[in-house]
Amino acid sequence: MFTSNPFAELSASISPELIQGYVILMFILVVGGTILDVIHKKSAKYFFENAKKAEASREREVGGGEKIGIAVKTIAEDVLTSGEFCNPRRRVSHLFTMYGFILFVITTVALVFAYPNREAPGIVAQLWHLGALSVCFGGYWFWFFIRVDVAAEGNPWYRIVKADLFILSLLGTTTFGLIWSVLQASGNGASTLFLILFIGASLVLFGGVLWSKFAHMFFKPAAAFQKRMIKADGSRENLPEIGDLTDPELQKKFPDIPQYMGANPPNMGLGIKRESPKHY
């Protein structure tokens, strides 16, 4: 069931060219929606204006080689392992959703373009289903428990606002896609309904880029790189630098530190971050 290519059976009723054209249309919608989003929200303009303003408070020049090193670190830590998340549950949920989505998209392209009307190697179809399942796992966990308006403000999980456009359409795409694949493989007539729902949800997901947070997957790596750059060049967005508390120079400058904390200040452990922000 999970090893059969759902698009192969579909190509009996819908021509493979149409399916391929639909996938290409989805890509165009994403690219177009992102560009429109950038123009409409002026995010690129503000991003570069901010960078120019920060130049004034730069303490040192960052060389080309160092920039490449920072870029590599950004990709390795912030992108591949979603390192920007402080909360471990949010981080794990995001990793499942992110990698599941990437897997889902890549295997969809593979199944639709390389194996449109014949059986694909079992592993490709399995990965398609696995990607969708991974998105469902991370996504439903996020939807029911982790969303901040549910976790920190006590709103019920069934309250839907405009901010939920992305997560709902994403969950809809993967859930309906999985149900469609399972029903189609078992020859159930209801599979057509779920095919329509699957197509509808994917249209909302990829077409709603201008109104949803879809484009964050392109902006966040740029923002993460910029955050590391300001630490490297010393501007730090005017934030103070704490430094090493055992450094005698620092202790001489701020005598409160050795007076109240000793010459070797210990790790004080978590304070207000000990408990999750659920005190509503």
């Binding site: 995010s43 998340f85 103070p240 530190i257 200040p265 210990p266 452990g269 304070g271 922000p277 659920k278």
Partner: protein, 160 residues
């Protein structure tokens, strides 16, 4: 001046929502990021500024320590047990860096257990300081008034 959130830096963790004593930091319905819903009611206590792990909240400091056009930013590192301030004036001539310990005891220790402390005696209640205490908090007048004892319930969640 009241706090404001850089929504591009905010990652929607909810710590500012939790800590605001005025209950005015909430989550935007369109972007699912934090924002100050009522700047008029901001106490400028800097709780949200200190609590934000992404340093996404900024606030203009009072004029008595920083003139117009300044930047004041704070970094509260509770694991190191210190709080650092940086105040920059607009003419670039002043760039103060201040560092102070937050606490001298490990977190979670030294919390007062008020229920183990004895209540005031009758003599203390009749004294000049306490005789006029409102009846809702007097322990000798049918116990403490709570929501349950008055038949009230509190609705769960945040309403604003």
């Amino acid at each position: 001046m009241p706090t404001f959130v850089y929504m591009t830096r905010c990652d929607g963790c909810g710590h500012c929502v939790d800590i605001c004593p005025s209950d005015i930091m909430h989550i935007d319905k369109t972007y699912r990021r934090a924002y100050n819903i009522e700047p008029n009611m901001c106490w400028e206590c800097y709780s949200c500024v200190k609590a934000c792990p992404q340093h996404a909240i900024d606030v203009r400091g009072y004029a008595d320590f920083a003139p117009l056009g300044h930047s004041v930013r704070v970094d509260r590192d509770e694991e190191k047990g210190v709080i650092a301030w940086r105040i920059k004036f607009r003419n670039g001539k002043k760039d103060l860096n201040l560092l102070a310990p937050i606490t001298t005891k490990p977190w979670g220790s030294g919390i007062p257990q008020l229920k183990d402390v004895e209540g005031p005696s009758q003599e203390m209640r009749d004294s000049q300081l306490l005789y006029n205490e409102p009846k809702y908090i007097r322990f000798d007048d049918g116990g403490v008034h709570t929501l349950e004892s008055n038949g009230l319930t509190m609705k769960k969640g945040v309403y604003y």
